[in-house]
């Protein structure tokens, strides 16, 4: 009872009530906590794989700033940059988004996009302002890894691009580079993806990528050639300049094409191997087949004959010079030139097929020796000829010379040696030499001496003439002048001689008239010669028909 009657403390239940009632205001921190938690969960869900990239340099990379992008979509961020243990590389730690898991595949590629200026153009210009970023390309492998070696240059072909890769063998890289274009009928259809030295360092293997659908044009018979630079040729049709494109002049390129007639060609498999020829002509030419090595010995200067000079057989180019050396002949103490050359019998075409039948069977070298031996017996001789008078380029011509002296042909000798005859130009040179020799044999000294003596004599004579003859001559001339003056005087208008002369002339005129009158009279009276003059026929009474002159003259009389 007393317990019941005891009134409860007035404040305590109040405090308990207040404490027990949960205020709605606590919803605020709960909501805050939920929001915070959801953010944390979201972040945690969004955290993707963490990978490490190694680069040669961290140029342009910044921790927490540099982004990793694929097709310009951010897929991650560089969170830390450190040096590798051996300090040869830079390790960039990248946190990828959780959607970027395909980028952890083992064959994924990462490279730093920086501004690059090359013959193919300028790339990454936007990174000039924004700073470098890391570009990624997801691979296709099943395996994943968290450590990647970053590429120093962007891969020219991204994954998933349709097409085929092929391997090309070439002697040297030339001006090719990764990204160099591949042309088909002057249309770019692919590019060089990578290159490396072939095994044992003999040649270069170039990997190219031809994008679909153009990869179907690569057949088993396709020929590739180096389209770098400008191909200038001077032919009968004039100067011809051939090039693929402006880019290929600068940066090189490869062109390909199948021969016009290739009946058995079918599309090539991926990673098929081809050879790169130096130019289109050699590429498109039928295959040369096996080469035969021959040697020639020339007793003349080989200036102008270089490695690569052509070897002609009856005008058909069948090979080229591969070596030009000097030999020393102990007997004659001369230096004959040794020229090594390769010839391609297949270039003879139909002739080769027939010759092979004649040659019979056996070692190919023996067959060649047999055939060549026959030819040499028939007068086959090698001769150095001038291919170009301007440049002095020489080539080796093999022709049949029936007049050539017989030479013993040794079919056992390796390499086979083809007998030679002096070149045509050489002959001309010899004749010129002979002419010059003859010229030099002339007794020019003696002739000159004689001539000199003669000249001395002449000089003496002239002196004499000057000293003695000329003064006398002067006197004579003066005399002549005097005589002429006298003559002039006597012939003057008013000289007595002239007057006498004119009187004498008058006398002669008169005499002539008398004679004419007499003859006229006699003509009319021939009897007067006998009878003498009759009175009526006196000469004075005669009146002849006067001539015009006489009319003038008569009155003066």
């Amino acid at each position: 009872m007393s317990d019941k009657a005891l009134p409860p403390s007035p404040s305590r239940p109040l405090v308990k009530r207040r404490g027990a009632r949960v205020s709605l205001v606590w919803l605020v921190p709960i909501i805050a906590g939920l929001i915070g938690l959801s953010m944390a969960v979201h972040d945690w869900m969004n955290v993707g794989p963490k990978i490490t990239l190694s680069f040669r340099t961290a140029e342009g990379l910044e921790a927490n700033k540099t982004q990793v992008k694929y097709k310009n979509v951010v897929i991650g961020t560089v969170t830390a940059i450190s040096l590798s243990d051996d300090r040869t590389h830079v390790l960039a730690t990248v946190e990828l988004n959780n959607t970027a898991t395909p980028f952890t595949r083992k064959d994924s590629h990462y490279w730093v996009v920086r501004p690059r200026i090359g013959a193919h153009g300028i790339t990454g210009i936007d990174t000039l302002l924004s700073g470098a970023f890391i570009a990624a390309d997801a691979g296709s492998a099943e395996e994943t890894t968290d450590h990647f070696a970053g590429l120093e240059t962007p891969p020219p072909v991204s994954f998933g691009e349709k097409g085929k890769r092929f391997i090309l063998h070439t002697d040297d890289l030339g001006s090719l580079d990764i990204g160099s274009p591949i042309y088909y009928r002057r249309i770019q259809v692919g590019q060089v993806v990578s290159y490396q030295l072939a095994k044992e360092g003999k040649g270069v293997d170039v990997e190219i990528f031809i994008s679909a659908p153009n990869d179907q044009y690569i057949t088993t018979d396709t020929r590739f050639w180096n389209a770098s630079g400008v191909d200038v040729s001077i032919g009968a049709a004039g100067l011809k300049i051939d090039t693929q494109s402006l880019t290929s002049i600068i940066s090189g390129g490869i062109a390909f094409r199948e021969p016009n007639y290739s009946p058995e060609s079918k599309p090539a498999e991926a990673n098929a191997e081809f050879t790169v020829f130096n130019d289109q002509a050699t590429a498109m030419a039928p295959p040369d087949g096996d080469a035969r090595y021959i040697r020639m010995r020339f007793e003349q200067s080989l200036r102008g004959l270089v490695v690569g000079s052509p070897v002609d057989f009856l005008g058909v180019n069948i090979g080229k010079v591969v070596s030009v050396d000097l030999d020393y002949d102990l007997k004659t103490q001369t230096f004959p030139g040794l020229v090594g050359a390769v010839i391609y019998p297949k270039r003879l075409g139909a002739a080769n097929d027939k010759l092979e039948k004649i040659g019979g069977s056996g070692d190919p070298d023996e067959i060649s020796a047999r055939i060549l031996g026959g030819f040499v017996d028939h007068g086959l001789r090698a001769q150095i000829r001038n291919g170009n008078l301007l440049t002095g380029q020489l080539y080796i011509a093999m022709d049949f010379d029936p007049k050539a002296p017989k030479v013993a042909f040794n079919p056992k000798l390796r390499p086979l040696e083809i007998p030679t005859v002096p070149g045509s130009f050489d002959k001309l040179q010899e004749q010129l030499q002979a002419f010059v020799d003859k010229l030099s044999k002339l007794p020019i000294d003696q002739v000159a001496n004689n001539l000199n003596n003669n000249l001395v004599e002449l000089q003496k004579t002239m002196k004499q003439v000057n000293g003695d003859v000329l003064p006398q001559m002067r006197g004579t001339l003066q005399q002549v002048q005097k005589t002429l003056a006298t003559a002039n005087e006597s012939l003057g208008e008013d000289s007595p001689q002239r007057q006498q002369l004119s009187q004498a002339m008058d006398e002669v005129q008169r005499t002539a008239r008398s004679v004419r009158v007499l003859t006229d009279y006699l003509g009319r009276h021939p009897e007067a010669l006998i009878r003498g003059r009759t009175g009526d026929a006196a000469p004075g009474s005669y009146k002849a028909t006067p001539s015009s002159r006489e009319i003038d003259l008569e009155p003066e009389q």
Binding site: S23, V25, V28, P29, A32, I35, G36, M39, K65, S130
Partner: protein, 204 residues
């Protein structure tokens, strides 16, 4: 104690709004009809709640970026502390200091002060009551200035919009920071400083 009677002894209480002395049992001020309480209702619990919410929001506010800057194509996100460090490293330590005080020091101070006040009030501590009251007034005063950071971001994001050249965008962090400020202000508002002095009265 100076002998002046307490309001409770006379069974009256003060209207918060118009300062009218009301009878203690009244719920509404007879003069201005505002709700009247002897003390702010549920003050400690509310303050705790708002303080905790503020603390929770303070974590993402510091971890998440507050600003996204794009300048000439290079973009970067800055959290509050990274911005401070960046300013400091670039040599403008004064701006760094300003941001640090406004964004880090002040909120932390508020948490600490409010926490101390709450703990001491709950323990009915009689320690340094005058100083604690002064601290509370100080908290209320600086409370208005904590929005400085939010205002800066809002202003800058509105002004710097030069498309490709440079743009600044606010990020989610600044929202949390604003919430922190709001929560701490609520906490400061819901705290009743008279509770400090209630420790002097035995039976309350």
């Amino acid at each position: 104690m100076n002998g002046i009677p307490l309001a409770r002894e006379h069974a009256v209480c003060l209207c918060h709004t118009c300062g009218y002395v009301c009878p203690a049992e009244a719920t509404v001020c007879p003069r201005c009809e505002a709700a009247i309480h002897a003390r702010k209702p549920n003050s400690i619990a509310r303050t705790w709640a708002f303080l905790l919410a503020g603390l929770i929001f303070y974590i993402p506010a510091n971890l998440l970026p507050v600003m996204y800057t794009t300048m000439f194509g290079s973009s970067s996100q800055n959290t509050i502390m990274s911005g401070v460090i960046e300013f400091f490293e670039s040599g403008s330590w004064d701006i760094a200091l300003l941001i640090f005080i406004a964004s880090v020091a002040v909120p932390c101070l508020k948490f600490a002060v409010l926490g101390t006040l709450l703990v001491t009030v709950q323990r009915r501590s009689r320690w340094a009551m005058r100083e604690r009251a002064r601290l509370y007034r100080f908290i209320e005063l600086i409370g208005y200035w904590s929005m400085l950071d939010v205002l800066v971001v809002a202003l800058v994001a509105a002004l710097v919009q030069f498309r490709e050249l440079s743009t600044i965008e606010p990020r989610i962090g600044i929202l949390f920071f604003g919430l922190v400020v709001v929560m701490t202000m609520f906490a400061a508002m819901s705290f009743d400083p008279r509770l400090i002095w209630d420790a002097e009265v035995e039976d309350v």
